[in-house]
């Protein structure tokens, strides 16, 4: 019964996460928006697990573990960059030219 509304909410949250990634320039905030996207996906999995089996929830478990690992490594990278460039503003981190 709650399946369809959950999916709608999940889609909206994902969209908001994408919008956040596109709007913000602060690297940490962008990272947070990525976490938001992951959560939206988690919501989708959980909603579908109701009918499709507990595998969905297990997947959510693993997603959370991966998100934790990713957050740790990502923030460590941001710290390292901050040490070199004194900024986490994406506008000033433009060395990825071809």
């Amino acid at each position: 019964m709650l399946l369809e509304p959950s999916l709608i909410v999940s889609a909206v949250l994902f969209t908001l996460g994408v919008a956040g990634v596109l709007i913000r320039r602060n690297a940490i905030v962008i990272f947070m928006c990525v976490e938001l996207m992951l959560n939206a996906v988690n919501l989708t999995f959980v909603a579908l697990a109701q009918t499709l089996g507990v595998g969905g929830q297990i997947f959510v478990l693993i997603v959370m573990a991966v998100a934790a690992a990713e957050a740790a490594v990502g923030l460590a990278i941001i710290l390292a960059i901050f040490r070199h460039r004194e900024t986490v503003n994406l506008q000033h981190l433009n060395l990825l030219k071809g």
Partner: protein
């Protein structure tokens, strides 16, 4: 016998001579002059001897037949099967004899005339090459092979007109000849395409056999073909409107003028019409145009000749005029008469040109000895040369009487035959009477200007100058010898009239079956003959009485012409009109539109440079995609995702 099998050798000999002399010209030492002469003249003499043998065998073993010798398959493309083949019948045999015979005489003459020229070997190479192409033209068994010769003689004409290419005026004359001829060649090509389209073949035998069934007489197709062919003839044979190159072609050496622009190349158009007699018989309009243009050209050129002072220019316009007569002949269906005049004209016009060459040779020698820079070709600087060049004078008088049409010289017989044929057709279409009248008037002018030429050159007081007079002398025998032979032929060639009709009958039979000849009553014919003779004599007498060579002064001091004389002297300003109406607009168009706009702006600018600029622009856009900003990259990510999802959602 083997002679017929060696037909290919007749054109091959001059070709070999051209190659040998051509390679010798690259070494250019005077010591080889004798070798060049031997090779150059030798191949021609051998070719002539072989031609005589072949024709004798033809008349003995295969009288009246047409023999085609196929050598290799040249263009086998679907329905179009063109072989490199030579055709031997009465018509091509006649042309072959004329070409090789007169060429041999002129080659001998050239050995004397061009003796001191540094380009001796080159001259003989190009002259031999010309004879090769001319023989290909007359012996070709199909339109393409003939066209090879047609183009080739055009090339050699260009080379030989501009032989002394260090002077711009000579090079320009060569260019003019070539370019004007190209217009005619376009007509020839279009006609070839149409012929193939309607008959499915380009070989003479096939085309003429199928012509009667492939075309309905007088319809647009056959008329178009005949008119386009005639366009080619106006170019090659210097008729209105494409005759303008021939007077300029006099810039070349005089033997070249004699051979190419009197005896052989310019007659190619007449040969073409005679060869395609079947086609012209099927198109009354085509024949009418040919004869009409021919006779009008005859009169037109004759009037210009009345007021020219350069001896070679007079002869050039005379050639144009006489070619007009030939076209009147073949246009009225009197192929025999036309070819007869072609033959006799080859004799006496070559004689006239070579004779004038002897005169010019003497004048040049005189001026050279006194370091004078007068014009050696201007008749106002001549006069009284009969005393110094008696043989030349006498022989040229023979030719003058022949060209004027005085019996019993050859020209009388041929010209009279043409005029009679034109008059005969008048009984069915009155316009031919008009042609006859114009032809008669042109004959009057011909007699007049030729007598004028002789009068001013050889008679009266000498205007060359005191010091030069001592150096004027007769040409060496190597030059006067051929003149003698040509003189005999000009005088006695009229005897051909007895044999030529029956000789050419097998070739003209097909055409006359489609458009029968008109017969004249005996007494009408004699009346016409009488009128023609009277006109000729009247022309000579008028010139003798009205013109006073004693009143001439040397060219440098001569007053400018006025009035009608000026118009004639300036050749009716045709060249100037062409220049203004045709040449300048084309040059302007080529420069402004074709070059600046199309070539520079469009092709270079848009095509070449534009493509490069487009590449740079695309590359620039591509490079802007990599600006190093992560935010931008993420946005591109999302764009990609949206697109992929868009495809999936669908």
């Amino acid at each position: 016998m083997a002679a017929l099998e060696l037909l290919w050798l007749v054109p091959a000999l001059p070709l070999a001579g051209a190659l040998v002399n051509g390679s010798m010209s690259l070494f250019g030492r005077r010591a080889s002059r004798g070798a060049v002469s031997v090779v150059g003249i030798g191949v021609l003499a051998a070719a002539f001897a072989l031609a005589v043998a072949i024709v004798l065998e033809l008349s003995r073993a295969h009288p009246g037949e047409t023999l085609v010798f196929r050598y290799w398959s040249w263009i086998p493309v679907g329905q179009l099967q063109v072989d490199f083949a030579l055709q031997l019948d009465a018509l091509s045999a006649l042309m072959m004899l004329i070409v090789t015979g007169v060429s041999t005489l002129i080659h001998i003459y050239s050995a004397g005339y061009m003796h001191d020229d540094p380009g001796y070997a080159r001259y003989f190479a190009e002259l031999n090459l010309f004879v090769f192409f001319m023989l290909t033209l007359v012996l070709g068994a199909s339109f393409p092979v003939m066209f090879v010769g047609w183009e080739g003689v055009g090339l050699c004409s260009y080379l030989l007109i501009g032989f002394w290419y260090n002077e711009k005026i000579n090079a320009d004359a060569g260019l003019k000849a070539f370019i004007v001829n190209r217009i005619g060649d376009f007509g020839f090509l279009v006609a070839m395409f149409l012929i193939f389209q309607h008959t499915g073949s380009l070989a003479f035998g096939d085309v003429f056999a199928r012509a009667a069934t492939a075309f309905t007489p007088g319809d647009r197709a056959i008329t178009a073909i005949t008119l386009f062919l005639f366009l080619g003839c106006t170019g090659k044979s210097a008729q209105i409107p494409l005759y303008v190159w021939l007077p300029d072609a006099m810039q070349g050496p005089t033997p070249v003028s004699a051979l190419i622009h009197a005896a052989t190349m310019v007659t190619a158009g007449v040969y073409l019409v005679a060869r395609c007699g079947v086609l012209y018989a099927l198109s009354p309009v085509g024949s009418l145009v040919v004869a009409g243009v021919g006779v009008v050209t005859a009169l037109f050129a004759a009037t210009i000749g009345l007021k020219q002072w350069d001896i070679k220019k007079v002869l050039a316009y005379s050639t144009i005029s006489q070619l007009g007569y030939m076209f009147l002949g073949v246009g009225s269906g009197a192929y025999v008469a036309g070819m007869f005049h072609l033959t006799t004209h080859a004799f006496f016009k070559a004689l006239l040109f070579l004779g004038s060459g002897s005169v010019i040779h003497a004048m040049h020698g005189a001026y050279h000895a006194t370091h004078s820079h007068e014009d050696a070709q201007d008749m106002r600087n001549m006069g009284g040369l009969a005393k110094h060049l008696p043989w030349t004078c006498g022989l040229m008088w023979v030719a003058t009487l022949a060209i004027a049409g005085v019996p019993p010289f050859s020209g009388f017989f041929s010209k009279d035959a043409i005029l009679a044929a034109a008059f005969a057709r008048g009984s069915s279409e009155p316009v031919w009477y008009l042609f006859w009248g114009i032809g008669l008037l042109a004959a009057l002018c011909t007699a007049f200007y030729m007598t004028r030429l002789m009068l001013y050159t050889f008679h009266g007081p000498n205007r060359t100058g005191e010091r030069e007079r001592a150096h004027l002398h007769e040409a060496p025998w190597v030059m006067t010898g051929p003149l003698l032979i040509l003189g005999v032929l000009s005088a006695a060639g009229g005897g051909l009239v007895l044999r030529l009709g029956s000789w050419l009958e097998p070739v003209t039979r097909a055409a006359h079956a489609l458009a029968p000849e008109h017969e004249l009553a005996r007494h009408t014919e004699w009346t016409l003959i009488g009128i023609a003779v009277v006109v000729a004599l009247a022309g000579i007498a008028a010139a003798w009485r009205l013109l006073d060579p004693a009143r001439l002064v040397p060219a440098r001091q001569s007053p400018a012409e006025r009035g009608l004389g000026r118009v004639l002297w300036r050749k009716y300003y045709v060249d100037e009109i062409y220049q203004a109406v045709i040449v300048r607009p084309i040059v302007w168009f080529s420069r402004e539109v074709l070059w600046h706009v199309i070539d520079e702006d469009l092709i270079d600018g848009i095509g070449v440079n534009g493509v490069a600029r487009l590449s740079r622009a695309v590359g620039w856009i591509g490079s802007r995609l990599q600006n190093g900003e992560l935010g931008f990259y993420v946005m591109l990510f999302v764009v990609g995702v949206v697109l992929v999802l868009g495809a999936a959602v669908r």
